[in-house]
Amino acid sequence: MAEVLVYVDHVDGAVRKPTLELLTLARRVGEPVAVALGAGAEATAAVLAEHGAVKVLTADAAEFADYLVVPKVDALQAAYEAVSAGGSLAAVLVPSSAEGKEIAARLAVRIGSGIITDAVDLEAGDEGPVATQSAFAASFTTKSRVSKGTPVITVKPNSAPVEAAPAAGAVEALAVTFSALATGTKVTSRTPRESTGRPELTEAAIVVSGGRGVNGAENFSIIEALADSLGAAVGASRAAVDAGWYPHSNQVGQTGKSVSPQLYIASGISGAIQHRAGMQTSKTIVAINKDSEAPIFDLVDYGVVGDLFQVVPQLTDEIKARKG
């Protein structure tokens, strides 16, 4: 059976959920060989093995943290060469983060392959893996293939279930020679994002978002209280972010995060096309807006026309009461 390279997104050895989803998709097209780089790379092996990795190629070097993107491309290329030398390689799969897409794209240029970004599903096909994508703010669904070289495909979070599928997951050290460009862009300092204790926005099963209607940074506590009652992540529209009410890292939409949770609750958000681009594929959509004409109501499974300052606290109290 052909092998599939899976690029592992992890933080000091803790594998992030989208990588486990990627393993589910990888098993549909071949045998997953994981590539984990940087501090803690070897510690990823156990959980990757549990989810289907037959092998885990690891490498650590200061370059991965000290320079932008290129060292990781060098390493992924080394993995590509090692695996394709030993047999057939069906695809290279990478999680669709900003960095993941850049790594995948540069690899694709180097190996002369086409690239598909932001797939939301993947199946085996007669002419190689077939990727499903959504286009034009999710108003179209497309199916595409890479027609030249080994398919390089990046996949969005929440595109597949995490499934247990125990495999060997044998750790092998990957030899990496860094290219001349590896040290081109230096990371001179890094400020980690402070944890809020809430789920990661792109990975959360429920997202509760607030927009201009929230009308002030201090009022976001209403949105946070609802989120916490549901164990949800908090999102914001660009209007709320631009006003300085909530951090940009929580922005949902075309130039923020793209989310696809089981449930999306929009409060005081009108539903502009750029916002819809980041949430339209959510399974169930709920909105609270005082304007019955707001375009967000075209998307909803359930909508409440009303003042969010009345509706949201009542909803939070009711959820807490029902949860006891």
């Binding site: 850049e102 449930l263 359930y302 009542q314």
Partner: protein
């Protein structure tokens, strides 16, 4: 000292219009109004700011690969304040994907001459956000991408990249490829004077032969990817909409409980 900046701008279908695919499954650019991708206005803006803050002699060239109408995008960038424009246009380019477009752009950037390339964070139609990284790879220069803050001084570019897990300060020597986000600062509106001045600014047209690109490296037939189908998303079944008469929060909770979210 002189600093040559090339800004890559894309002409895209208006996102607020009815965007769709043509019969050959390429983006329909004929039936929908087009404009300079809003996210590339931020790239033009940063180029202008770098120019205004620099002691060097800065020349800003805006570059697009696209059909005849793509000239509108160049014109807008010129009226914002760029100095000159290059339009790469060739019938053989129809249906080219990111691998081919990046090849053509890289050749055009080299032909124009550059110290700094600035792009938007992503095009608003394809929304891949990978072209800047690919350009850096093809040109063999540092990639300094997704910056929300950019500075150019002493032959170096520095800036802030806000990533998922951390905010990073980056530094690279010129020449380099930079992409900027919509957090980098609002783009200016063209002034009346700027619009008038733009009419006199030079716009060069290049085709594939000017760039030594073979027609078998571009176009739909030679693309590195193939779209097999494009289906409009089925209309969402109309949801339930209630007016809050004092019980809206409770009614919503009832709905969520029915869906097993509570």
């Amino acid at each position: 000292m002189s600093l040559r900046i090339v800004v890559c701008v894309k002409y895209v279908p208006d996102a607020t219009g009815d965007r769709h695919f043509a019969d050959d499954l390429t983006v329909d650019r004929d039936d929908v109004d087009g404009l300079l991708s809003e996210l590339d206005e931020y790239a033009v803006e940063q180029a202008l700011q770098i120019s205004e803050e620099s002691d060097d002699d800065v020349e800003i060239t805006v570059l697009t690969v696209g059909p005849e109408d793509a000239k509108d995008a160049l014109r807008k960038a010129l009226s914002m304040g760029a100095d000159k424009a290059v339009h790469v246009e060739d019938d053989d380019l129809h249906g080219t994907d990111v691998m081919g477009t990046s090849l053509v752009l890289a050749k055009a950037i080299e032909k124009a001459g550059y110290d700094l390339v600035i792009t938007g964070m992503a095009s608003t139609d394809g929304t891949m956000g990978v072209l800047p990284a690919i350009l850096a790879e093809r040109l063999g220069v540092p990639q300094v991408t997704l910056l929300s803050e950019v500075n150019v001084a002493d032959g170096k570019v520095t800036g802030r990249r806000d990533g998922d897990a951390a905010s990073e300060q980056l530094e690279a020597s010129l020449p380099a490829v930079v992409s900027v986000t919509d957090q980098s600062g609002e783009a200016r509106y063209p002034s009346f004077k700027g619009i008038m001045a733009a009419k006199k600014k030079p716009v060069e047209s290049w085709d594939l032969s000017d760039l030594d690109v073979d027609s078998d490296e571009v176009g739909l037939e030679n693309a590195w990817t193939a779209v097999d189908s494009a289906t409009p998303r089925p209309a969402r079944t109309a949801g339930t909409i209630v007016k809050d008469e004092g019980e809206g929060g409770k009614q919503l909770a009832e709905f969520l409980a029915g869906q097993k979210f509570i």
